[in-house]
Symmetry: C2
């Protein structure tokens, strides 16, 4: 990948200073800390920034003024409240969401999506096209670049593009309709840049990692530092965050949890192994258990609807998948000891339909010390999690160095 | 635990500065960076420290002088070499290993160990007693405190105790000889302190985590930032390090990899589940496959010797365990994407005896992208890994703030 996804760092913490950090570096960190705070938490008074970031009032004032002068935030007087009628009102610092933005892209199993996402995580524009079966990742560059050009044409003239991010699903279908994995293209970032010409580059990463990051920053896992985000589509992948940091692995391939073998006597998997978790919990498994032909996401939702309506085969399929879902979750809980497991993608609906069974299996298999404290939750950001997360990657350079980064490309 | 094990941080990096880091904090970080460097790498010239830490020559000189004045390092002129005959020789900064030390303890399945370990990781004194079957963790406090008092009595009068660390195996036998897990006692640090009186406290942690940390800092995984350390005794636990940081999990229970279920039709495990990985690869499994009664570590080594000598039942047992070992490693490689898997404890010998089979199973099960780059290695620090790692925990406070920490207790 052109600019590989870096291991994340805790959000409310400045970058580590090098041993010989200069005053200039410290100022850059502090600017980043203020901008990151309002990016994540939204409009915040100078008084609150002072309290949250451990800097003094005059420093916060100077930093906010610098960020405002750079066109990254606005400052406005706080509306007076009953509690704050006396004294000077504190200025409120707000991210300029409509002006400062990124291009966020996702290459999903069955579609290509592109969004303009503003500072603060606001979706300003969102477009998508289908992704035909068998379309290689690099062939998505043309259509995605087309969506990006359309959005750029519709953007206000004074808007400031500060970066790009792409989330790539690691599962796809080949042109015979079979599931393939690990087709993520290393040269994707470079290809997008070549297609789109000058401007900020694209940071690329695994879709489950990126969607997990989005849930961690703005979703159901906000404030949670040890979590496993499970993304279901044709297969199952995870974004694992421990100690507030994304686990990317040695080469960015961590979280291929769909290929944990859970059933040595199970079915042959697309990866060449047998009894992988996703052969029991992927979309294909649900359709198979329900006695239906392989199909798309609509077919999966139809099984879930039928199960809710009491159709025995569909209800049985949901029970079976939920039980295996709990099985793999138990393994991950024993290995990672998260305090939260989040179900996203098509696993969101499967979890919603079979939550009790997932929990029951978890409770029979995971160690008491780990299972007692772990919570299970459906994802909050829905189908936009990957785009929102891709925007977070894209904002990272700006947040690390607000006055010098991003815009140069 | 009194002072729970913190998530580690990359070794060659100063602590992150708070947004408003003062000059005093920066100086403290720089002192820590110099002391940590010589602690990990041994005697180092000022010239090399200047190059490695990115500080200028005069700053390094001042920091080293301060550390020497505090009695933490010595400075001596470098012996002249052919390459360095001209010019002033650079002073060499060395950790005062014989003077500055920690108390490192381990509560293992069958024994209790205590060491005095000096700055730089040198073992100055090492004592052990047996741990009877069924001895609860808290009952180990008395005998361990006895060993500590003996060592303290034998230490030089001017020696400086800066901290204590304890590694606790999460597996033990109850008094009926059955395997029990998760008996790690939360109040261990407090109990040791109560028994030993005033002085630095004890940081406690899981034995596999701590042994893995030791291999990462001074063993076969030095310089490797994404690794899984597997520790075998009655069961199997892991120390997982990603991006240079130890994964501790939400409550410090990560790495219970012995309780990943790999064989749903397998044997009932001591944890209450069925087919856990350690039912196939723990010491008991090897003895069972070899047709021998349950036994201790000596019995395990005897099976490995018999296998090496060609005894069919023993050789078959090693093959079976090695195959299941590769099975679980494949799952972990898919989940974590490490660049190194280290086999320690009794898995060290099992791996040595069946390395080819472990690799073969890994290669049939793990995804190509992850398996192609992962190396498998036997642990380097042997039975002392847990003690060496416990000392690292104990030195942490000193290394974070060399002139003010540790000695106050």
């Amino acid at each position: 990948m052109a600019t590989p996804l870096r291991t994340g760092r805790p959000l409310e913490q400045a970058l580590p200073a090098a041993p010989g950090a200069s005053q200039e570096e410290i100022r850059r960190q502090n600017l980043g800390a203020v901008l990151r705070y309002v990016h994540v938490h939204g409009p915040t008074s100078r008084a609150e920034l002072t309290a949250r970031l451990g800097l003094n009032r005059s420093t916060i004032g100077a930093l906010a003024a610098d960020l405002a002068a750079a066109g990254l935030v606005t400052e406005e007087a706080e509306a007076p409240t009953a509690a704050r009628r006396a004294g000077r009102p504190s200025l409120v610092v707000s991210p300029r969401s409509a002006r400062v933005y990124t291009h966020a892209l996702s290459i999903e199993v069955d579609r290509l999506r592109a969004a303009r996402i503003g500072l603060g995580g606001r979706i300003l524009d969102l477009r998508e096209v289908g992704r035909p079966s068998g379309m290689p990742v690099l062939d998505a560059v043309g259509p995605l670049a087309g969506l990006v050009r359309e959005m750029a044409g519709a953007a206000p003239e004074d808007a400031l593009l500060v970066g790009g991010g792409v989330a790539v699903a690691d599962t796809t279908r080949d042109d015979a309709g079979r599931i393939r994995i690990g087709l993520t293209e290393e040269h994707l970032g470079a290809a997008l840049r070549a297609e789109l010409g000058p401007g900020p580059g694209f940071v690329t990463g695994d879709l489950a990692d990126i969607a997990g990051l989005a849930e961690h920053i703005r979703g159901v896992a906000a404030g949670v530092n040890d979590l496993v985000y499970l993304h279901g589509d044709l297969g199952v992948s995870a974004g694992i965050i421990t100690g507030g940091r994304l686990v990317t692995g040695h080469r960015g391939h961590s979280g291929k949890v769909g290929h944990m073998v859970v059933n040595p006597d199970g079915l042959r998997c697309g990866c060449g192994s047998r009894g992988c978790w996703e052969t029991e919990v992927g979309e294909t498994a649900l359709l198979r258990h329900a006695g239906r032909p392989a199909g798309d996401r609509a077919a999966v939702l139809e099984v879930l609807r039928a199960a809710a309506g009491g159709e025995p085969a569909a209800a049985g399929a949901v029970r079976q998948v939920a039980d295996w879902l709990g099985f793999g979750v138990a393994n991950l809980v024993n290995v990672v000891n998260p305090d939260l497991v989040v179900f996203g993608g098509s696993l969101r609906e499967v979890y919603a339909a079979g939550a009790g069974l997932v929990r029951r299996r978890l409770d029979t298999m995971a160690l008491p010390a780990s299972r007692e404290h772990v919570q299970l939750r459906a994802a909050a950001l829905g189908r936009n999690a990957a785009l929102i997360g891709a925007a977070e990657l894209a904002f990272d350079q700006l947040l690390a160095d607000p006055l010098n980064a991003g815009v140069a490309g």
